[in-house]
Amino acid sequence: MEILRSIIEVLGFVLLIAGAIAVIELYLYYHFKYFNKSWFWAAGFSVFSILVFVLLKTTGFYSDRLMVYAMIWEIFFLSVSKYLIRGRNYMPYMLLAPAFIGLGVLLFYPFFFEVYLSFHDLKLTTIMQWKQTGTIPFVGLRQFVNVFTIPPLAEAGFFRLLGRTLLWTFSNIFFHVLGGFALALILSELKIFRGVYRTFLIIPWAMPQVVAVLALRGEFHSQYGFINLFIKKSLIAFPWLASLGVAPVNWLSDYPLLTCTLINIWLGIPFMMVIILGGLQSISQSYYDAASIDGASYFQKFKYITLPLIKPVLMPAVTLGTVWTFNNINVIYLVTGQAGGTEQADILVSALYKAAFTYNRYSYSAAFALVIFAILFTISLLYSRTFETKER
């Protein structure tokens, strides 16, 4: 019974979306097609106003201000379609409209809403007021000052988190590329079983990330996890290891960031490997043959043929990987996110998530998010700059 109800709920929603798209398309079609009819203005304006009025009233969002905005928009759009567009080349806009309205409502509006939030004060004590009246106190730039002066979490402040994030990002990317390169090079040299190995090697990428991270988290458990069991067993087998300082480690409580990094390296290598392998296979064998004739060693071939030719494939993947790793909340939150979990491993984005949803500091985290966005933007800009100059 409940299953049936859930199907109806979701199906009804999908149909609602389809209906909304149909209305949008009809709306555009009217404006693009009937712009030179004598009743274009009168009919368009009155039908639109009535429809918007009914819609706002039934959904409970009605306010005089909104209604006026809608009417102004309609006058603007009617005149644009009558005097500027005049039904020329309207097809692409009709095709694009649903997607871009969706992006506007669910991507750009939230973005500007975040900017709005960052200049106001929304927290647990003001949220009920906001929910009922829609107003929150304006505080100007104070939230942005707070980001740098008040730590987002219980312990670590902004700059420590930033340092940790950079360390996390670059160590991960370094080992992803290193591991990916090594595996891809070996795979491309193999004569048999290459496909089979490749299939097995992308398992970390293919597994659902939640499962992979949670399972590995279990393996780092100090008593029952595989890593410590392995250390203990090898200590029994080779007692002399103890004198070298090998001992079971409390991974999750003593070295949480290292644990997260190890897990993320495991997760990220297959992607790089697949990208690099694809690049290696596209390099023509004749270059290598020519180099062999000239007596080049393996490392010379690697340096003068493989590296330069793989760069156009590798650089976008590295840029993408950097952004992904920088933004990776998943691994760190899944490992340390339980109630009472440690904050020793948090990077900027995971601190943002916890500040918003564990500590409920909404406006603070909005400002925090904008600061992080600015940092990320700068990094990607620098990346693309160096990438472009090297291309030329």
Partner: protein, 292 residues
């Protein structure tokens, strides 16, 4: 093989084989070690999931434990809402992928076939959305969903997911449409269909591979999503499987076996689909980036 190189004794023969194959054998060994590292966690999950009830937490490292049983699976299906979680995930994921792919397919057609004012800037806008950190938009989306009273509902989570993979899907589909010759549509239009008819009858059927990649991409993104679901859904009945598993794993000692069983049930189908489709998925990825 001429006479000079022919092995005279067995030892020489071994030396020759060694010289020829040593490098290959070494590399195979290295790769096998890497394969072991990649596969071992999965095997561990499997072995934990079939441990007998009294030995779920143990320091045993054998792959098939003594007295293996499917007790954890039975317990998982009977004592928890696991099937319900899977069902929730499936509904949410199917709805979001359907919405996402339909929006992307038409938008990509506009970008691929038409010249219009704002085409270039539209593409740049699409690319730049990829720079917005995903974690950044969770907060405003959460507040919007709260304001619309859609907390803890399917609709709230579907709304939050539906456009997240849209830019990427548009890129993939545009890249694929570009490879379909324009003359096909022109021929159809000569025969009397409009641009919509040409799109519906020619382009869509021809681009089923790209459409399925886009669908798959949308599907896996939503299927594996955790962070948004965590803040929007809060009653156990509405959980997606990711939330459910996190809860089972949180209580480490008691639920470890059930967690492993659930992981197995979720992972196997995803793994099979992914391994089957990985070739196309990667080519789609690089297609998008090269064209950009």
């Amino acid at each position: 093989m001429n006479k000079k190189n022919a092995p005279r004794t067995f030892l020489q023969f071994v030396m020759q084989v060694k010289k020829k194959y040593l490098k290959q054998i070494l590399m195979h060994l290295l790769i096998l070690a890497a394969v072991a590292v990649c596969v071992y966690p999965l095997i561990r999950i499997l072995s934990v999931s079939i441990r007998p009830g009294d030995k779920i937490v143990s320091t045993d490292l054998s792959i098939i434990p003594q007295g293996a049983s499917f007790l954890s699976y039975m317990k998982l299906l009977q004592d928890t809402n696991f099937l319900r979680w899977l069902w929730n995930s499936l509904l949410i994921t199917l709805a979001t992928s359907f919405i996402g792919v339909s929006l992307a397919s038409t938008a990509a057609y506009a970008f691929s076939r038409f010249n219009f004012l704002g085409k270039k800037s539209g593409m740049v806008v699409l690319l730049s959305t990829q720079m917005i950190p995903a974690g950044m938009l969770i907060l405003p989306l959460f507040l919007m969903i709260m304001k619309m009273n859609l907390m803890n509902t399917y609709l709230g989570i579907i709304i939050a997911y539906s456009v997240s993979s849209l830019p990427f899907s548009i890129w993939i589909l545009k890249g694929y449409y570009d490879t379909i010759p324009k003359s096909l549509e022109e021929a159809a239009m000569v025969d009397g269909t409009g641009p919509i008819g040409a799109f519906y009858r020619i382009i869509l059927p021809l681009s089923t591979p790209a459409l399925s990649i886009a669908f798959l991409f949308n599907f896996t993104t939503a299927w594996n999503e955790y962070l948004v679901a965590r803040v929007v859904l809060f009653s156990s009945k509405q959980y997606t499987w990711t939330l459910g598993l996190f809860e089972l794993q949180g209580q480490f000692i008691t639920q470890w076996g059930m967690f492993a069983a659930g992981s197995m049930l979720v992972t196997i189908p995803v793994l099979l689909v992914f391994l089957y489709s990985s070739k196309w998925l990667v080519s789609g990825l690089t297609l998008g980036s090269v064209k950009g």
